[in-house]
């Protein structure tokens, strides 16, 4: 339990990133009692999501090699969590942040980004996240010297954060036991970096990429690769398998882990845990041993509005 040894007195909010707990799920896994399923709780990062890792690494690497200087504005397209992370570190490190997001991103996350002093530029909700990417590129092209554009979809620091962070943490906490790793594909950074590290382990670990089962879906943060701009950092050879999950299955699992595990997670985490539990159930049914780790990307409270609670909301 290395978590017990972690120093809790820290000098900067950036030191609070990473080293997240692995929680064993006990109740949604009843049909796989011999195959442990662990949720890696990325909402324990200071910005509340897995995106803190990539955002921090992209900022720090750019500061080191001079791409990001004090006179520049950090701009990127983001559906929310990366934006929260940029905003948080921007505030802590004295960097101005401007974000492009589709206007149908949940109100909660717009408000969080604004709370850190970030400026938001809205793109057409009908064009989805790809529309935000195109608009961010256009803004940068018009005045390239003014901006630092991390481009989370193309920035190697994004997967590197997981290669050096998420992957080693999982191996440290589970050692030889882990047999399967499950993560959803958004920028694909989590899967690319973590899988590369896990593949270096001396025993094979199967890496399973979760993807929405159709182009029009409600699993915020995940990409349906066949119908999307494919992120330059994405390499389909990094994982062993793609596991399509329907919006309904993802949402239902998010509800179940809240009620049965006391874990209130977002929809993409619901999809990841749905796949992780299903894999464990299949191993159990075949009488095979195993140990599955699924990524919990963020908490469910980021998604309360506009989906469920607000009758009227502004786009």
């Amino acid at each position: 339990m290395s978590g017990w040894l972690r120093a809790r007195r820290i000098e900067s909010v950036v030191e609070a990133v990473g080293d997240t707990p692995l929680l064993r799920l006990r109740n949604v896994t009843k049909r796989a009692s011999d195959v442990p399923v662990y949720a890696k709780l990325e909402f324990e990062n200071p910005g509340g999501s897995v995106k803190d890792r990539a955002a921090l690494r992209m900022i720090q690497d750019a500061q080191k090699d001079g791409r990001l200087t004090r006179d520049k504005i950090l701009i990127d397209s983001t559906s929310g969590n990366t934006g929260v992370a940029y905003s948080l570190f921007g505030a802590a490190l004295g960097i101005k942040v401007r974000l492009v997001m589709p206007s149908n991103v949940s109100k909660a996350r717009k408000d969080i980004a604004r709370a850190f002093g970030t400026e938001i530029v809205y793109s057409d909700p009908l064009e989805g996240s790809d529309g935000a990417i195109r608009l961010a590129k256009k803004i940068v092209d018009e005045d390239p010297g003014r901006y630092f554009y991390p481009d989370q979809y193309a920035n190697p620091s994004n997967p590197l954060a997981h290669y050096h962070g998420t992957g080693p943490e999982i191996l440290r906490d589970l050692g030889d036991r882990i047999t399967h790793f499950v993560a959803g594909l958004g920028t694909s950074g989590t899967m690319m970096g973590t899988a590369r590290r896990l593949k270096e382990h001396h025993r094979a670990i199967r890496c399973v990429a979760v993807e929405p089962d159709s182009a029009l879906h409600g699993l915020e943060g995940l990409k349906h690769m066949a119908s999307s701009l494919v992120p330059p950092i994405y390499d389909p050879r990094a994982h062993d398998e793609v596991f399509p999950v329907s919006t309904e299955d993802g949402w239902d699992m998010a509800d179940r882990v809240a009620r049965e595990e006391g874990l209130h997670v977002g929809h993409s985490s619901g999809a990841n845990l749905f796949a992780a539990v299903r894999i464990a159930e299949e191993l159990q049914a075949e009488g095979k041993p195993g140990c599955v780790v699924g990524i919990v990307c963020d908490r469910g409270d980021r998604y309360f509005s506009p989906l469920r609670w607000e009758k009227k909301y502004v786009w």
Partner: protein, 90 residues
């Protein structure tokens, strides 16, 4: 009466790439039926057995049909219908 329907990027494979199409009907439900005749498969993406899928919002002008009578919402001449995913994706 033809209504203009705005199609999100994720569904444009079903409309030959068009971001706006037209369909006829007196209510939102009728327009979706007609849409499906013109662009087969659309209805299935938008509705399930309980009505509009949980993660899809259909707007008449600025109003979410969930709060105006759902599929029975009546349309007036000049109304524009927008299909907007509840989330942004990516």
């Amino acid at each position: 009466m033809d209504t203009i329907v705005r199609i999100p990027a994720a569904l444009r494979t079903l409309t030959g790439g068009a971001d706006e199409v037209t369909a006829a009907g007196a209510t939102v439900g009728d327009v979706i039926e007609d849409l499906d005749k013109r662009h087969p498969g659309l209805k299935d993406r938008l509705l399930d057995e309980k009505g509009v899928r949980r993660f899809i919002n259909i707007y008449v002008g600025e109003e979410d049909v969930r709060f105006t009578g759902g599929l029975a919402t009546e349309l007036k001449a000049g109304d524009q219908l927008s299909i907007i995913p509840a989330i942004a994706g990516g």
